[in-house]
Amino acid sequence: MSILVVADHDNESIKAPTLVSVAAAQAMGGDIEVLVAGSGCGAAGEAAAKIAGVSKVLVADNAAYDHGVAENVAALVAEIGGNYSHVVTSTSTTGKNFMPRVAALLDVAQISDISGVVSDDTFERPIYAGNAIATVQSSDAIKVITVRGTAFDPVAADGGSAAVEALDSVQDTGLTTWEKEEIVKLERPELTAASIIISGGRGMQNGENFALLESVADKLGAAIGASRAAVDAGFVPNDMQVGQTGKIVAPDLYIAVGISGAIQHLAGMKDSKVIVAINKDEDAPIFQVADYGLVADLFKAVPEMDALLG
């Protein structure tokens, strides 16, 4: 039995969720190969070869795979997918985009966003925004799977010495032309990689007030998130959204400021190790999941916290 992990990468390096996907693959059991499909992605291929527990790295380096164009990447993965018992990638916007195409091309079901591996054909996954966990068993010969980025402890990024093999296959469907991207330049850690996150909700009242959180975040080395209410109200952009329809995070410390704790938001952060809630409404549902709750006006409490952190 061998498992193909499709890497999340930026051509230069391997992104952290790939290490989680490899960890999930180890739980399924089998020889693990990693596919790096990109354009000018040699460095990412070299980095993948160092991941602990990987036996082989396949590098498909062609302009057709630039920016992870779903139609082309899916055609490539489906072409080689028949050689494996499992095809695995992370539940990132890239993985969510191409992987169901792979499953359809292979005529197998996809098991999305798994949070646990019971056996090589049985997996746990959250449904209804994490309000229930389904245990599902696949009868397909190839299991196509996306892995929740917070559900497994990542394997080490180094220590391995896998062989690197070039894949010459070029799958260019010509269906999609990539135009441009507006990627937010982050001075802080990425939400899905941060060990501390401070998030604001509707209680922040406006976008300018997020500056209060920025000061604390800088002192803690934290990422800044937001609830869907804050995004819907136009305070901050959608890429900051934590929740069922945003990013799923599980940092060591999650500080929820002015967030009531809608189910939708809790679905995105309740696996955090330590949760702090600061809210003036003592009945806010966020306090039911918080390890430490502070009933206070955030406009007083956050500056005070900022001062205490020096």
């Binding site: 169901p100 309000n131 245990t135 009868s139 135009e179 329809t245 190790k273 005070e304």
Partner: protein
């Protein structure tokens, strides 16, 4: 051009779902059902295309039990022209739904298919992409802006780091993200008018589609509960606990 919209009947987003005590699933008895919120955004986008004169006809399709008619009627009241129900009592999984939709696409030949990026019950986020693959079509998932050109669509997509813009050849499948538009409410006159709009009904067998489930749900359980924490009185106490008790900041 014709636009096909896929809409799913799901538990209303305001409902607190309850896992059944025999762990066979979640309790759907006497629970309010609605159009999947992301599919409402898809309906709205299609209706706006018609109002702008770009789309000539908006067809809404739903796959499931006969009561999915209610959600098709909602879409018709919001401005869709006619409905298609592919009726089945089978547990419809994403691959089977995509195959049914592929058969409907073959029949209807729309230039554009719009669907929600995920349904809020299964949270799978698969059907749009699978349909595009089965039909050999381009896909633009998680759309926050759609502009139609001549034989193509330029779509801004919500990706992890920000936004990405792609141009896809038509016919294509677009899946909607939250910020694409804000759906309207149906007016009473439009709800009345919708009752007269036609709904065609097929079965998966009529369409020649095998919808046998590939996945077996062994059990459904409630998620692990977090233990209740404590309420601290002051910011000093909070910072002290984080430093010395939880040891998550230094």
């Amino acid at each position: 051009m014709k636009v096909l919209v896929a809409a799913k009947r799901v538990v209303d987003y305001n409902v607190n779902i309850r896992v059944l005590s025999d762990n066979s699933g979640v309790d759907l008895n006497n629970v309010k059902m609605s159009v999947n919120p992301f599919d409402e955004i898809a309906i709205e986008e299609a209706v706006r295309l018609k109002e702008a004169g770009t789309a000539t006809e908006v067809v809404v399709v739903s796959v499931g039990a006969s009561n999915c008619q209610e959600q098709i009627r909602t879409a018709l009241a919001l401005g869709a022209d006619r409905g298609i129900l592919v009726e089945t009592e089978e547990d419809m999984q994403p691959l089977a739904i995509a195959k049914v939709l592929k058969a409907v696409v073959d029949k209807e030949e729309p230039a554009l298919v719009i669907a929600g990026k995920q349904a809020i019950d299964g949270d799978n986020s698969q059907v749009g992409q699978m349909l595009a693959a089965l039909g050999g079509m381009a896909q633009a998932t998680f759309a926050s802006e759609v502009q139609l050109g001549d034989g193509s669509a330029t779509v801004t997509r919500e990706v992890d780091g920000g936004l990405e813009t792609i141009t896809v050849k038509l016919p294509a499948v677009v899946t909607t993200d939250l910020r694409l538009n804000e759906p309207r409410y149906a007016s009473l006159p439009n709800i009345m008018k919708a009752k007269k709009k036609p709904i065609d009904t097929y079965t998966p067998a009529d369409l020649g589609v095998d919808v046998t489930p590939r996945l077996k749900t062994l059990k459904v359980t409630p998620p692990a509960e977090r233990e209740a924490g404590i309420i601290v009185e002051t910011v000093e106490e909070l910072v002290d606990k984080l430093k010395n008790e939880a040891k998550v900041i230094s």
